[in-house]
């Protein structure tokens, strides 16, 4: 088996430079690559383009990079939870491209699957379709959407082995598997790094072929955005 293991986030992020485009997994704060984001803050890389469904909250997730003005452009589907984000966007400091969530997911998948573009009905007749090719299939209108290019993808998985095979937990899977396919260099942080042979091949969500570097993550906070509960009766 090809060994993909690196020591930590610092070693994993070798090659990261100003002006690069990254994909970052996660939905809200669920399944975000916390260690890689901390390391990006530490490195101070700037003028970044980040492809991520959301933009974190003010003091956590991608909000940490926004606060230090490291992001030049965000490509997301929903950014409603972050005041600093809104301030930078309305003042013109931050360039923002909003994309329908399913289109974002499929563009990530297409990137890793060797599909340069595809037609989707989402956004037809709206400002999302402006300037894009449209076409009718079976009486319905569709919009042409393209794959991305991304130098690095930062992925958070639950368990991974030294060959890069990954298993996700709960809804922390979200965008991680497609983004893992799409990065030219895919970096994975895991809660539990195990030896090859310890994961059941039947249960693997992302095969190791998509992963270039993997490391044991540390100090996960796993913040909850909306803590909703049923009271004990």
């Amino acid at each position: 088996m090809i060994n993909k293991v690196v020591k930590n986030a610092h070693e994993a992020l070798q090659g990261v430079e100003d002006g690069m485009t990254f994909m970052l997994g996660g939905f809200g704060l669920c399944g975000i690559p916390e260690n890689c984001i901390s390391e990006l803050v530490e490195l101070g890389a700037k003028d970044l383009t980040c492809i991520s469904n959301n933009a974190g909250v003010d003091e956590f997730g991608l909000g940490l990079l926004l606060k230090k003005h490291q992001i030049k452009k965000m490509i997301s589907s929903y950014v409603g939870e972050n005041d600093e984000f809104e301030r930078q966007m309305l003042s013109g400091e931050l360039d923002v491209e909003l994309i329908p969530q399913g289109t974002l997911a499929e563009r990530c998948r297409a990137t890793g699957a060797g599909i340069p573009a595809f037609f989707t009905p989402a956004g037809y007749g709206t400002e999302v379709a402006e300037g894009k090719e449209t076409r009718e299939f079976n009486g319905k209108m569709y919009v042409l959407e393209h794959a991305f290019e991304s130098e690095f993808a930062f992925i958070k998985a639950w368990k991974g082995d030294t060959a890069g095979n990954l298993i996700f937990k709960g809804t922390a899977r979200n965008f991680n598997p497609m983004m893992a396919m799409a990065g030219k260099i895919t970096i994975v942080e895991v809660e539990e790094l195990v030896e090859v042979g310890e994961l059941d091949p039947n249960q693997i969500h992302t095969p190791g072929i998509f992963v270039q570097r993997i490391f044991q993550g540390t100090d996960y906070e796993k913040r909850i955005e909306q803590r909703t509960v049923t009271p004990k009766s």
């Binding site: 939905f27 809200g28 704060l29 669920c30 399944g31 469904n53 997301s76 589907s77 929903y78 950014v79 409603g80 939870e81 809104e86 966007m89 309305l90 923002v96 909003l98 329908p100 969530q101 399913g102 289109t103 974002l104 997911a105 499929e106 990530c108 998948r109 989707t120 009905p121 989402a122 956004g123 037809y124 007749g125 709206t126 400002e127 999302v128 639950w158 996700f168 937990k169 709960g170 809804t171 922390a172 899977r173 979200n174 965008f175 991680n176 598997p177 497609m178 969500h205 796993k222 913040r223 909850i224 955005e225 909306q226 803590r227 909703t228 509960v229 049923t230 009271p231 004990k232």
Partner: protein, 219 residues
């Protein structure tokens, strides 16, 4: 009397059909899950990657790795499943989900809907709404009939940036149940105690009133 948000949800729940897969948006739509009629089996899909979504967890059992599309902690029922975002939207685009219930800022009589952006004031993003409205077989919009200033949100033409075109077929508001066809709103039911004249006055779009309009019924 105009309906409460709970009653709007309760009225929409009457539209649920046995063995449907349903996606509920944030806000009033989420409440629909509280009013599933007896004898009807429904499985809820959350577009962040969950089918068979259950109620909020018992206090102390919440899991940061198990949330719904509104980022609330939830549970997964027996028989549920978890998947990635591309798979989730394949379910939606591929019309495997039978019903989408979502909120709106404006609806127009041609079936257009606007619910994601107020230029220069609010830009949060469309999330999954554009994918949902572009593909769902059945879309029910849950909304207030008028805005806080008393202006109609049931319009001839939407003024805000659109989420989808020609897609909404049914609207349940605090005042009425409306169906959209032939480029008009058809008044189907009134909220209990609300007159046809009141609904007419609160509706900017073309409203078609055919015969006696019954009141909504709640168990």
């Amino acid at each position: 009397m105009a309906l409460s948000k709970q009653q709007i949800a309760q009225r929409i729940a009457q539209e649920l059909q046995h063995n449907w897969y349903v996606n509920l948006g944030i806000g009033i739509p989420t409440l629909v899950a509280n009013y599933i009629p007896k004898g009807i089996d429904i499985e809820f899909q959350s577009e962040n990657g969950l089918l068979g979504m259950g109620p909020f967890p018992i206090e102390g059992e919440e899991d940061a790795d198990l949330i719904n599309a509104g980022k609330q902690t939830v549970t997964v029922l027996e028989g549920g499943s978890l998947f990635d975002s591309a798979m989730s939207f394949a379910m939606i685009r591929g019309q495997h989900v039978q019903l989408t219930v979502l909120g709106a800022m404006e609806v127009a009589q041609n079936g257009d809907i606007a619910n994601w952006k107020i230029p220069k004031r609010m830009v949060k993003g469309m999330g999954g709404a554009m994918d949902l409205v572009a593909s769902a077989e059945n879309i029910i919009v849950a909304m207030m009939h008028t805005n806080k200033k008393g202006e109609s949100k049931i319009l001839k033409t939407c003024s805000l940036p659109l989420t989808g075109v020609n897609c909404v077929k049914k609207v349940v508001t605090n005042l009425a149940v409306l169906e959209i066809r032939d480029n008009a709103f058809y008044l189907i039911e009134r909220a209990p105690g609300v007159s046809v004249e009141e609904i007419q006055a609160a509706t900017e779009g073309d409203l078609i009133i055919e015969g006696e309009i019954p009141e909504m019924k709640f168990d």
